[in-house]
């Protein structure tokens, strides 16, 4: 004789693992998508481009002898091993061309039109101090 409780137990036993597996797979799918989007948004080339352009525009905007501080913590997190050895040369200037490089195989350049000489001082924590001198 089959009792009612046995039926319920049996039914639960069939449905529960299937549903849980279904939910887990869906969550895994969504997680992978979110991680993909997060990885794309934090890519080095985007951050390099952003800082190269920001710094160039700042140089064009400010008066000579202006001191500017920029927080580049996110740049220091792209390739922390590379950053430890090269943070002081992560932002360089060649004539009127700024280059931001935060990883081994990276680098993005953008030019400014002001005839000035920017001087950079970068800490290992990612704080940039820039002084724009007369050219």
């Amino acid at each position: 004789m089959i009792r009612r409780g046995d039926l319920i137990r049996k039914k639960r036993g069939e449905i529960l693992p299937e549903t849980i597996l279904f939910i887990i797979l869906n969550l895994a799918f969504i997680t992978i998508l979110i991680l993909f989007v997060a990885k794309q948004s934090g890519e080095g080339i985007l951050i390099e481009q952003s800082y190269a352009k920001q710094i160039s525009l700042l140089i064009d905007a400010v008066e000579p002898n202006t001191e500017v501080f920029i927080d580049m913590t996110d740049a220091s997190e792209i390739d922390s091993v590379w950053w430890e050895d090269n943070y002081d040369s992560s932002i360089t200037v060649d004539g009127n061309i700024i280059t931001a490089k935060f990883r081994e195989k990276g680098g993005y350049s953008y030019s400014f039109f002001n005839k000035v000489v920017p001087v950079f001082d970068i800490t290992s924590e990612g704080e940039l101090r820039m002084v724009v001198r007369n050219g």
Partner: protein, 166 residues
């Protein structure tokens, strides 16, 4: 188990994944377009060089008339350089400064630097499909010199398309 192996569910997941990857790739492959800011800075720089506190620079005049020789060394005087980071065939900047009397009659004096070829971009840039062309900005202001008022129009253009638009 039907749900898991359902071809329809797999198809939906695939479509969603492809759509997300495509949208993200398209969005993040677009470079930041900073030309509008840059051309405004250029125009402001030229304006600041010509006039401080509403008074035109005395270097612009010679014996009561506009100093034509001022044109020759304008970029150097203002501390502007048009060098760029890539070996483009033509210069990526242009500006034109025109001086008018207060009654809007032309003084005949103007300053011009950069690539003339960029001017044609300004006429058609308003239409969206031409966003790959150069970015143009025109500004105007009044200034005085020896009690005489002038209207100064500055047209600034920055191209640099390859670095700002895909």
């Amino acid at each position: 188990m039907d749900k898991l192996i359902s071809i329809y569910w797999f198809a939906i997941l695939t479509i969603v994944a492809v759509a997300v990857v495509y949208m993200v790739a398209v969005f993040y492959s677009q470079p930041y377009d900073v030309r509008e800011v840059e051309v405004n800075l250029l125009v402001n720089k030229v304006a600041d060089c010509l006039s401080r506190g509403g008074e035109l620079s005395s270097d612009l005049f010679y014996e009561g008339n506009f100093n034509v020789g001022y044109k020759d060394n304008f970029l150097e005087t203002c501390g502007i350089t048009f060098n760029t980071e890539r070996d483009w065939i033509e210069l990526q900047y242009y500006f034109l400064v025109e001086f008018f009397n207060i009654d809007l009659s032309d003084t005949g004096f103007f300053l011009e630097e950069g690539s003339l070829n960029l001017i044609s971009s300004c006429d058609i840039q308003d239409e969206g499909k031409y966003e790959r062309l150069a970015e143009c900005v025109e500004k105007r202001f009044y200034a005085v010199s020896d009690g005489k008022q002038y209207l100064i129009k500055i047209l600034g253009i920055v191209r640099k398309t390859e670095k700002n638009v895909n």
